[in-house]
């Protein structure tokens, strides 16, 4: 295995395109090094992007949105007060990944590129309407995070393509997000189910809603029809129980050691309902 430490994104992509065999990009390494250790993926070339200027920075753009560098760690997100206040759901999703040791290294982009349907940070990024900047040999493009996962352990990224940053849109008043997951213990586990919700309100009434379900399908599920039943409501009456039932109906989980299909369908409804309530409360207070 050859180790490369380029000083620009263009150089990183050029190395990737001119190398033969399996090429992997390295950011936090909390998945790549495990794969290397247990032998599931044995790259011929490893391209470390952490020495590229700006790759560990969170910056506020002129349009009011945030750009998060590809190697920004979970701990950096949590420590960023303003970002955590505006996007608490996104930040709390990432914060659930691993221990303090893992948080020092693990990245949003890595969590996305690993392609796990149970990735805790991915539902939050999707409901936020986040996009990724992708660099390849023909230039740069912007792609929605929701278009990246393509199945268990796989993404829509082409060989050599590199995600350089995550772009969050500007946060408006009366918007709120939340991410909740179910695990059988209190810490250090992989989601049995997870759900992120983002809501926009006007006079307390939901004007738009996004709902994403995690770990209940081969990739994250955008639950459009469940989100639609929240719009025009104040989460009053029996809306939450209808929403919950809809989420359970949309979920297409498998049975495995972490939970049976029946259990996952049941519990996703409960978790989704709580996440919607939490996002609503945050949206009310967010002005």
């Amino acid at each position: 295995m050859q180790y490369h430490s380029p000083s620009s994104f263009n150089e990183a992509v050029a190395i990737s395109n001119s190398s033969s065999g399996l090429v992997k990009y390295l950011a936090g390494g909390t998945d790549v090094l495990v794969q290397l250790k247990i032998g599931t993926k044995s790259p011929d070339h490893l391209i470390d992007i952490k020495n590229i200027p700006g790759v560990r920075e969170i910056s506020l753009r002129d349009d009011g949105g945030y750009t998060i560098g590809a190697a920004v760690s979970g701990a950096q997100l949590t420590e960023h007060k303003e970002l955590s206040k505006k996007w608490p759901g996104l930040v709390e999703g990432m914060e659930l990944v691993g221990s303090a040791q893992i948080q020092s290294r693990a990245t949003l982009v890595g969590n996305l590129c690993n392609g796990s349907p149970a990735a805790d940070s991915v539902p939050g990024m999707i409901v936020a309407g986040a996009s990724v900047s992708i660099l390849n040999s023909s230039g740069t493009k912007d792609v929605l995070v929701e278009d990246i996962p393509s199945g268990p352990g796989s993404t829509s990224l082409e060989n050599g393509e590199l995600i350089t940053a995550i772009n969050l849109p500007k946060r408006k008043d009366y918007e709120g997000d939340a991410y909740l997951r179910f695990i059988p213990r209190t810490e250090m586990d992989i989601a049995v189910v997870g759900c992120a919700v983002n809501l926009s309100l006007e006079n307390g009434v939901i004007t738009s809603a996004k709902v994403v379900l995690g770990a209940v399908g081969p990739k994250v599920i955008l639950a459009h029809s469940a989100a639609d039943c929240l719009v025009g409501t104040k989460l009053d009456g029996n809306i939450l129980s209808r929403f919950s039932a809809k989420c359970s109906q949309i979920a297409k989980p498998i049975s495995d050691k972490r939970g049976s299909e029946e259990f996952r369908k049941d519990i996703i409804g409960v978790i989704a309902q709580r996440a919607a309530k939490k996002a609503y409360d945050r949206a009310l207070g967010n002005n």
Partner: protein, 159 residues
């Protein structure tokens, strides 16, 4: 396979070593530099026995490549005690018997130090969550948590 010449700083000392790019920082610490205080429990970032401070961040050194250490500053368990005295956490762990077999202890001490360096007044919950990435199969954790809480109190009182 071509080895890479790595220049780094460990516990305040300039250190150079030759690393196979596949070797982890933990492999390099133990096998090339002879610092065997950091332990390999799982090798996959689950147990925390290899915890080190890497450029100010608490990391599992089994999830960092040795070649990534180039130009960085690393603190290991070997650098924790002073010239003449143990670190207050080390003293307290002995005093309160917060260890049995000792295999997890270097990692737990490093992780606890990283916490107290940034927050010398943590709640018990904060200590428990912070140390969730450090597994101990002997103590049942209570003595460890109590020792960290007591050390934090001592640090506050002497500050």
């Amino acid at each position: 396979m071509t080895k890479i010449h790595v220049k780094t700083n460990i516990n305040g000392d300039k250190v150079e070593f030759l690393a196979d790019p596949r070797e982890t920082l933990l492999d390099c610490l133990r096998d090339h530099i002879g610092l065997t205080g950091s332990k390999e429990g799982c090798g996959t970032g689950d147990c925390g026995a290899c915890s080190c401070i890497f450029d100010g961040d608490l990391v599992s050194s089994c999830l960092v490549l040795g070649v990534e250490a180039e130009g960085k500053s690393i603190e290991t368990i070997e650098g924790m005690a002073g010239e003449k005295e143990l670190h207050p956490l080390q003293k307290k762990f002995i005093e309160m018997a917060a260890l049995q077999c000792g295999f997890c202890t270097p990692g737990i001490l490093i992780a606890a130090k990283a916490l107290l360096d940034r927050n010398n007044d943590p709640t018990e919950s904060e200590v428990r969550y912070w140390l969730a990435g450090n597994l101990c199969r002997c103590t049942g954790y209570d003595k460890i948590i109590k020792a960290v809480m007591e050390t934090a109190r001592d640090i506050r009182e002497t500050a």
